[in-house]
């Protein structure tokens, strides 16, 4: 299998201009490589920068130095230097991200939230709907909730909507930030199955999993941030 993520000498620090210019070094000289069909689990104590790394891989945070090459349209593209439009394109086609919390859009139904990544790619509504329904059913979201806006849902329900939205588009690279954190055993198991099947289809997964059982089931390699970071003062 070929490499789809190639991170070299990645560092990330935050400068807090409004707090006396305090400098927080969170990631220092990270090097990692993920191949298609592999699941890399980010491991480390709280505050070692797991979420920061994941967000940097999604170009949500800007790296201070180093490079993040991802395989996009059969070419390795550096996210760190790509323009905004290319970053958007990579997110639309190549790079999926499931955050811990669903950013709720008022008045949009759960079904539409899940369908959206496919609609953005111009996939026909009925096909998007079929795939969304399958996922929602798989994740045990009661059908009566589908037409409702998810802002009234419970934490676990919102997270499952978020997961469905992340998995529907079958991105070649999927970033998962504690996808099972607020899920019960039954649903956590569904997520594990989803991850396994997407890995089998060649998707590369990078994730943070606190649940040891889940971690050990899906991980093909572990990336330990405790070893790489020395200044871990920040709460990121």
């Amino acid at each position: 299998m070929n490499t789809v993520i190639d991170v070299k000498a990645l560092s990330k620090s935050f400068t807090l201009h409004n707090q006396g210019g305090a400098e927080l070094q969170v990631l220092n000289n990270i090097n990692l490589r993920v191949k298609a069909g592999e699941c890399m689990v980010l491991h480390g104590e709280s505050g070692t920068g797991k979420s920061t790394l994941l967000r940097t891989l999604y170009a949500n945070y800007l790296p201070s130095s180093g490079s993040i090459h991802v395989l996009h349209r059969r070419q390795m593209v550096d996210l760190a230097t790509a323009g905004s439009r290319q970053q958007l394109e990579i997110r639309k086609e190549t790079l999926g991200y499931v955050s811990q919390f669903l950013r709720v859009i008022p008045r949009v139904s759960a079904l539409d939230v899940v369908k959206q990544p496919l609609r953005e790619r111009g996939i026909a509504d009925d096909e998007a709907e079929t795939r969304a329904c399958t996922l929602l059913r798989q994740l045990h979201i009661p059908e009566r909730l589908w037409p409702l806006a998810p802002n009234t849902f419970s934490g676990g329900e919102q997270q499952r909507i978020n997961i469905a939205r992340g998995f529907i588009a079958q991105y070649p690279i999927l970033l998962l930030d504690e996808p099972t954190a607020s899920l019960d055993r039954r649903n956590a198991h569904v997520v594990v199955e989803l991850i396994q099947s997407t890995l089998a289809q060649g998707t590369a997964v990078v994730g943070i999993f606190h649940d040891i059982e889940v971690r050990e089931t899906v991980a093909s390699q572990l990336f330990d941030l405790d070893q790489t970071t020395y200044a871990a003062a920040a709460n990121y």
């Binding site: 935050f14 400068t15 807090l16 201009h17 409004n18 967000r55 170009a59 949500n60 945070y61 800007l62 905004s84 439009r85 290319q86 970053q87 958007l88 394109e89 950013r103 859009i105 008022p106 008045r107 949009v108 609609r119 953005e120």
Partner: protein, 259 residues
């Protein structure tokens, strides 16, 4: 697609009333179907920039180039006023913060929607009315109120009417100046949702000026932050809001309760 040509190119655009009052050396590009947010506090020059962009304020320097339906590049301020006005009511739209700047308050909602059609030569009353009714529905207005004047509408309804009035000629580029300003939160949410859907379905390019970062996050893919008439930071909306680099942007983001 990345290889696509931009729709709008802004080069070194400058309009200064006094030093740091207005906008200076503004450069950016806008692509078809893209929503660009311009944020900044009052007095940062975002309205001046929007007025220059939308053909209503002649800049002192720089140029604004637009690629029209026929794939020709037009230099906005090199056009004659006739051509510029024509562009404004066919391929462009403008949604004002205050509905009374964007609507004719003295004539019915239907006439407000139909005006652009009539201005471009539509002469069939039945067609104009049918399209008025369709647009009333599309922006979730009660079609039975098509003959009522906008003065009898609520603030949120007036904004939706303004949107319908602009979209009736299927513009490719729409400018919005604080479209949700002064509306109740619940009404705002409805309008934002409507805008989001219209933007996706009609493949509209939008430049939206707002000081509300939540609105920007919801609608805009890219963000431009302005201060003292200059662009101080730009990038993907979530990048700028979640990992702001500049002191001013950090202050702006940290000052908001829930961005």
């Amino acid at each position: 697609m990345i290889s696509q040509e931009p729709l709008l190119q802004v080069k070194n655009l400058t309009k200064l009333y006094a030093p740091e009052k207005g906008c200076e050396a503004i450069d950016f590009e806008l692509y078809p179907g893209e929503v660009l947010g311009i944020v900044g506090e009052s007095g940062s020059g975002k309205s001046t920039l929007l007025n220059c962009l939308s053909g209503r304020l002649i800049p002192t320097a720089g140029e604004i180039c637009y690629r029209n339906r026929d794939n020709q590049w037009l230099n906005l301020y090199a056009l004659s006023e006739f051509e510029r006005r024509r562009l404004l009511r066919t391929e462009w739209g403008m949604v004002h913060q205050h509905a009374r700047d964007g609507l004719r308050m003295g004539v019915s909602a239907g006439a407000n929607i139909g005006e652009r059609l009539m201005a471009v030569g539509e002469r069939h009353y039945g067609d104009i009315r049918a399209r008025g009714l369709q647009w009333m529905q599309d922006v979730e207005l009660d079609i039975h109120r098509i003959d009522d004047k906008p003065t009898t509408y609520s603030g949120g309804m007036q904004q939706r009417l303004q949107i319908a009035r602009n979209l009736v000629t299927h513009p490719r580029l729409v400018f919005m100046d604080e479209p949700t300003g002064g509306l109740d939160v619940s009404v705002q949410a409805r309008l934002l949702d409507l805008l989001r859907n219209l933007v996706t379905h009609l493949d509209l390019a939008v430049v939206i000026v707002t000081h509300d970062l939540a609105v920007a996050r919801l609608l805009a893919e890219r963000l431009v932050v302005m201060r003292h008439g200059h662009i101080v930071e730009s990038g993907l909306t979530d990048q700028v809001l979640d990992d702001p680099q500049q002191p001013y942007t950090q202050l702006l983001v940290s000052s908001v309760l829930t961005p």
